[in-house]
């Protein structure tokens, strides 16, 4: 039998090798799943991972990659800061929704303005909405010691009902002939988050994601606050002696992750989604949790992970239309990826030893 032996220091090799190994294992397990569903596994895997980049329609699908990766990266970076410090904001989906509602709401309130200041104001409003929604679990945690995991998650359901109310009530398109959903931003140019460079799928959300990744990397490696975040996660006792205030850290991490999720929602609603509708949110807030772990909670790793996860979305849609693969299969695939990642990760801190006889 094997037994685990703790490594004196975490393995640098496995720290970086874990994600690729997990991806390969997921492809194998996913292939078995697809085969069990009566699909040709090689064809499905090729459709998901190869065709969007090099296939026949790659010229269009490559652009879709950044469209999907942008919000994932933006949300995951915020989450990763908290996860590093041991602060578990898993309600990013709710902050994303509220950011979208507040951001879009500010724009729609002044429809049909042509001022070029409206879009920046909406960006700030979106970030503020997400931030404020994340402050609820943050303040409850610091004031009343309430579990932030449960509160942030409960607020996702609350946000979803507010979204339903927004699209059928207070943000409903007055010229929409009774259909639910807000005005479409494609007919509101001053407030629209249009593509800056369509072939790459680059809009302001993508720009924000890439800039945020660089800023977060600098924050974590070069700034006092980043040091405190890492210290609080790795050695909470040492962090207290160092003078790290847990309250400030919770407010900081939850605030940043909420604001980033709100931004992602705002860029999505004014861009690719186009309008506030009941099913506007597509689970980016939850998938971003996988992205954060896949990227090893490192901003630059998260950029790569975000693109990989976007690939499963774009390729998954392809597989859905071309091969009739159900959308839920992709969700299962993404869940498996996180499982394999967590399982392989044991090799970072432990090594397997063959246990021969008595030790």
């Amino acid at each position: 039998m094997f037994r685990l032996e703790k490594r004196p220091t975490p393995s640098k090799f496995w720290l970086y090798a874990t994600p690729p190994v997990a991806v390969i294992l997921t492809m194998i397990a996913g292939g078995i799943l697809f085969a069990a569903m009566g699909k040709n596994p090689f064809e499905v895997i090729r459709t998901i991972f190869w065709d969007p980049i090099f296939g026949e329609f790659a010229f269009y699908l490559r652009g879709q990659l950044l469209v999907k990766a942008g919000p994932l990266i933006l949300i995951a970076i915020g989450l990763a800061l908290g996860f590093r410090a041991g602060i578990w904001n898993i309600g990013a989906e709710g902050q994303y929704i509220i950011g979208a509602i507040v951001g879009a709401g500010v724009g729609l309130a002044v429809f049909p303005t042509e001022s070029r200041w409206i879009f920046p104001v909406m960006v700030i409003a979106g970030a503020f909405g997400g931030w404020a929604w994340a402050m609820i679990p943050a303040i409850l945690k610091t004031k009343f010691n309430t579990n932030e995991i449960l509160v942030s998650l409960m607020l996702v359901y609350v946000a979803e009902t507010i979204l339903a109310k927004a699209s059928t009530g207070f943000l409903k398109n007055p010229e929409g002939m009774g259909f639910p959903g807000s005005r479409n931003f494609s007919s509101f140019p001053a407030a629209q988050n249009d593509f800056l460079y369509e072939p790459l799928g680059l809009h302001w959300g993508g720009v924000a994601a890439l800039v945020t990744a660089v800023l977060a990397f600098i924050l974590l490696t070069r700034h006092q606050a980043g040091f405190q975040i890492r210290l609080a996660g790795q050695a909470p006792r040492a962090a207290r002696f160092h003078g790290v205030s847990p309250t400030r850290l919770v407010v900081l991490c939850m605030g940043i992750s909420g604001a980033l999720a709100g931004l992602a929602g705002m860029f999505e609603v004014t861009g690719p989604a186009g309008q506030i509708s009941i099913d506007f949110n597509t689970g980016y807030g939850f998938t971003a949790i996988i992205v954060a772990f896949l990227g090893r909670l490192n901003p630059l790793g998260i950029v790569l992970a975000g693109f990989l996860m976007a690939l499963t979305y774009v390729g998954g849609e392809m597989a859905s239309t071309n091969l009739g693969l159900p959308d839920a299969a992709i969700q299962v695939f993404q869940g498996m990826l996180l499982f394999f990642l967590l399982a392989v990760d044991v090799l970072t801190n432990y090594r397997f030893r063959l246990a021969v006889g008595a030790h």
Binding site: L4, F144, L150, T161, V332, G335, A343, D345, Y350
Partner: protein, 310 residues
């Protein structure tokens, strides 16, 4: 007796039934957490149980076998969590989240083709003569067997945790895994069994949603019940009878808001359907306020993995 279109006897009777899913799941999670493991995958295990139970019940035509199927499905899924956290020593919070995401995906994949089917009904357990008695009839005698089973499980778990050797071992492992290990207990093996038990309970709770509460298969049918169950465990300070009180409280709120929706209350539907989640948050705040640190009754090793270095 009628209070604004709501009959209190029927309200109490329905709240007992509507509390069953969260009660079962929360009881299971209580055992898991008492053994020092935080499994955030309750929502995933519940929905897998809801689907597994539904499929078995439809295929065999037996609702009882359906509940068994739900328990097996939930336990099987929880074994993934158990393997990752107890063998591969993965982070419990991350693994629990993964379990929920995975469970939601698998259920929506496996549930295709089961929409719009009626499951075999789970009937009332006791004869009509008892159930038709005024007031006490509907409340005490008018339920299906799962309602009584969930109350029985509350009593059994209370007794097991409090007065038996198994309960003592579970609590020892949860309070101080180092000490339990030194006494010769297989910490990870005991935790693994607790996790599987928690999975079975969550699965049965989920099956009750798809077989008795709704009753049909809908994508995302659990709608956050697993997370409410997790909150109830905290609310109950990890004690079975308080779990029952908590579950009935939430069952009551859910039924009340549904009744108010039907009765056409002045409060908009959207705000009413927020109520269970907002009240969960409120209760969490009340329970946690003023108790800094671990003094709230949480098992001391909760959420920490154990690796025997010697």
């Amino acid at each position: 007796m009628d209070l604004g279109g709501i009959n209190p006897v029927i309200l109490i009777a329905t709240l007992m039934a509507s509390a069953v899913p969260i009660l079962m799941a929360a009881l299971g999670e209580t055992v898991v957490e008492r053994s020092g493991v935080l499994n955030l995958g309750v929502e995933g295990m519940m929905i897998i149980g809801a689907l597994g139970g539904f499929i078995v019940a439809v295929q065999t035509g037996s609702p009882v076998l359906g509940f068994v199927g739900g328990a097996v499905a939930g336990a099987l899924l929880s074994l993934i969590f158990a393997a990752l956290t107890q063998v591969f020593l993965a982070n419990q919070v991350a693994t629990g989240l993964a379990l929920t995401l995975f469970g939601l995906g698998v259920s929506s994949l496996g549930g295709q083709g089961y929409n719009g089917i009626k499951p075999p009904p789970t009937g009332q357990l006791l004869p009509d003569a008892l159930a038709d008695l005024p007031v006490v009839g509907p409340i005490l005698f008018g339920h299906d067997w799962m309602v009584y089973f969930s109350i029985l499980m509350t009593a059994v778990l209370w007794w097991v945790l409090k007065s038996t050797r198994i309960g003592l071992i579970i609590r020892a492992v949860g309070e101080s895994h180092e000490a339990a290990h030194a006494l010769g207990y297989k910490v990870n093996r005991i935790r693994l069994m607790c996790i599987a038990f928690g999975g079975a309970m969550a699965g049965m709770g989920g099956a009750y949603i798809s077989l008795a509460r709704v009753p049909q298969w809908v994508d995302g049918i659990t709608a956050g019940a697993g997370w409410i169950a997790l909150a109830i465990v905290v609310f109950a300070s990890w004690r079975p009878w308080r779990v029952l009180i908590g579950a009935y409280l939430f069952g009551g709120i859910t039924v009340l808001q549904l009744n108010l929706q039907v009765a056409g209350s002045a409060i908009p539907v959207e705000y009413l359907s927020m109520a269970p989640y907002l009240i969960t948050i409120l209760v969490l705040v009340i329970m946690s306020a003023g108790r800094k640190g671990k003094a709230n009754g949480a098992p001391a090793s909760l959420g920490q993995n154990f690796h025997a270095s010697r």
